[in-house]
């Protein structure tokens, strides 16, 4: 379970995130929906403890990732926006490397690696060096290595970015299985269909601020729109009006 309260962060003059609060319960998929540059990546980075928020706090299963970093990271698997692989290692070796860094014993590591290779459909390229992998293959390896230690909490930054239809469906199916196992899944996206397809709860983020929150039905009802896309557009244009009113 992931809990964030009033997170803010600015880089120089730019306020990237302002007072973002969110809750992602276990057994549900929560989405952070926003356009490019809305503050999704910065919010997630603060949640998984890579950068320190200027104000506000994060709790993952009750622990602060900045104070008990290693404890939290043992219960957390994150797929960041950066998903570079080691090209002189095979896909399997890339996954195993992270497993060993998590202190997994060899037997569990092999079982878990085999399972992930099967679940994500990586049998054909698991023992090849990752140099020259396609975007889809790279994302699958990055996802597998992020989740090799079977964490309770899963954070994914735009997991299906650049994937083709089949690969996207594979990742979605995988996330549904994790949800069914009672995992807490939080991911960011700018793709409406995807959010609509698998999410239980949606947070709309715009200009660093969460401007709406709820299930898809609730968002549609609140905005009086028929599709999530229309609801999203109406929410972020509304927000711009309020912002301009405030600044005026």
């Amino acid at each position: 379970m992931i809990h964030a309260q009033q997170l803010s962060k600015s880089f120089g003059q730019v306020q990237a995130v302002r007072n973002v609060s969110l809750e992602a319960p276990d057994g549900q998929i929560t989405a952070l929906l926003g356009a490019n540059g809305a503050g999704k990546t910065t919010s997630l980075r603060m949640i998984y403890g890579l950068i320190r928020p200027e104000s506000g706090q994060v709790r993952i299963d009750g622990q602060n990732p900045h104070e008990n970093r290693e404890l939290v990271l043992n219960r957390l698997g994150a797929l960041p926006d950066a998903r570079g692989l080691y090209k002189n290692l095979t896909a399997r070796e890339n996954i195993e490397y992270f497993g060993r860094l998590h202190g997994m014993d060899e037997e569990t590591l092999q079982q878990r690696t085999d399972l992930l290779i099967e679940q994500l459909g990586m049998q054909k390229f698991a023992n090849r060096r990752t140099d020259g992998f396609s975007q889809g293959q790279r994302v699958k390896v990055a996802l597998a290595r992020a989740l090799v230690h079977d964490p309770q909490n899963i954070i994914l930054d735009e997991p299906t970015n650049g994937l083709d239809v089949l690969a996207t469906r594979g990742v979605r199916e995988f996330l549904r299985q994790e949800k069914a196992r009672g995992k807490c899944v939080l991911f960011s996206s700018h793709v409406m269909q995807e959010v609509s397809a698998i999410c239980d709860r949606i947070l709309v983020i715009h200009n660093g601020v969460v401007c709406a929150e709820g299930s898809e039905q609730e968002l549609l009802a609140a905005t009086g729109q028929a599709t999530l896309e229309d609801a999203f557009v109406s929410l972020i244009t509304d927000d711009e009006q309020t912002t301009s009113e405030v600044s005026a």
Binding site: Y48, L50, I51, R52, R69, E70, L71, L73, N74, L76, A78, L79, P80, D81, A82, R83, G84, L85, Y86, K87, N88, L89, Y97, F98, R100, L101, H102, G103, M104, D105, R129, A142, R145, A146
Partner: protein, 392 residues
């Protein structure tokens, strides 16, 4: 369960052993080029020396018939008399001869009257090939002049020793080994450059490289302290440096068997004990080099930029020696404790077969280790900074 330090070390080590570019530059080119260049330079020097002193002195003489007794003397001394060219100046300019001896037309007459008879020597001092034969000709003429002078005095009943009010007796204390000093001074640099090139790609790969290929952020999401991550990477960098320097030392050992040092009257030693001591001396230099390279690469935005900076760092091994030339350090202890400089001095002593002071060895290893650990600490601190992630 393995500790994360060794997991990281093993991964970096194995991954880089698979990288052709790293292997070629760190373990093949660097360690082989130095010793081979060294052997070629030495071989060239030996060849030149041999040519110069063993070849009979070729002496083109104009007007040889004027000075038959001198010519006879020169032949006795092993000179090969050649017919002189028509125009000596032209012959020197055209480099058809390195030198030309011209017997003055008045030579015979002057000689008969007991007056100084003139022999003209034409040569070009800027022509390096002329320096040895010119010296030999000068010596030849002086010897002849002294011999004749003594005979003339004896004929007049004067003891020729009277003309020598004082004389110089030369004591050249250079041992065969110390004569090699000039070229040998290069040997420590070749070893140091081996260290720097050996770790260069790993230092870049672990910092700027991780950033550029977008793998740093995922790596930092493992429950391992950043200091441990960097320590593992630094250890792999140092290990590559040490492999490179070990290969360099072994290549030197092999190269030395092919260089005929005895022909220069030198004896250079590089036995197992000396090789071991040199390696020991260089271990802390590898730590220093790896940390310094990591720090610089951490400031670079990408692989290419880091590579540019680190190539410039290859000049670093020369700095301490230059600094001492400008500001002489009197205290031997400070010299020994100065990183790289201490190693330079001791490696030269070792190869020349001189006994080294154990205290000097301790100072050199200790001083460099202290600086190396300090730099490693700075590298770890830099790695802990949030900015480290986003400077790309």
């Amino acid at each position: 369960m393995k500790n994360p330090f060794s997991v990281i070390f093993q991964k970096e080590f194995r991954e880089n052993l698979r990288d052709k570019r790293t292997i070629t530059s760190a373990l093949i080119m660097g360690p082989l080029m130095g010793p081979i260049l060294f052997a070629v330079m030495f071989g060239f020097m030996i060849q030149q020396q041999k040519n110069k002193s063993e070849k009979p002195l070729e002496l083109p003489v104009i007007g040889a018939d004027q000075a038959s007794s001198f010519i006879k003397f020169a032949r006795q001394q092993g000179a090969k008399i050649l017919p002189g060219p028509d125009d000596p100046e032209q012959a020197i300019r055209d480099k058809t001869h390195d030198l030309v001896l011209r017997i003055d037309p008045d030579y015979a007459q002057q000689f008969r009257h007991g007056l100084p008879a003139r022999i003209q020597l034409y040569y070009d001092e800027s022509n390096k090939d002329s320096s040895t034969p010119v010296r030999r000709v000068q010596r030849l003429v002086n010897q002849y002049s002294q011999t004749i002078g003594s005979l003339r005095l004896q004929l007049r009943g004067v003891n020729p020793v009277l003309t020598r009010a004082a004389f110089i007796e030369e004591h050249d204390l250079s041992t065969p080994q110390s004569r090699a000093a000039l070229i040998l001074a290069l040997l420590p640099y070749v070893l140091m450059i081996g260290i720097f090139t050996g770790g260069m790609y790993l230092a870049i790969d672990t910092t700027a490289g991780e950033k550029e290929r977008q793998s740093l952020e995922p790596l930092l999401l493992n429950p391992v302290p950043r200091s441990t991550i960097l320590a593992g990477k630094l250890a792999a960098t140092v290990a590559f440096s040490l492999m490179a320097v070990a290969i360099t030392i072994i290549t030197f050992r092999i190269a030395f068997t092919f260089i005929p040092f005895e022909e220069l009257g030198m004896a250079l030693k590089l036995d197992a004990r000396i090789m071991g001591l040199i390696f020991l001396l260089l271990v802390p230099v590898a730590l220093l080099a790896g940390s310094l390279q990591t720090i610089i690469a951490a400031f670079s935005r990408n692989f290419r930029e880091a590579q540019t900076y680190l190539s410039m760092l290859l000049l670093l091994p020369m700095l301490p020696s230059l600094a001492v030339m400008i500001m002489p350090l009197k205290e031997n202890a400070w010299k020994m404790a100065t990183p790289i400089l201490g190693q330079n001095l001791l490696i030269n002593q070792l190869v020349k077969g001189e006994a080294i002071n154990p205290l000097d060895l301790l100072l050199a290893v200790g001083g460099t280790t202290a600086v190396g650990l300090g730099l490693a600490w700075v590298a770890v601190k830099l790695y802990n900074r949030e900015r480290m992630l986003f400077s790309s």
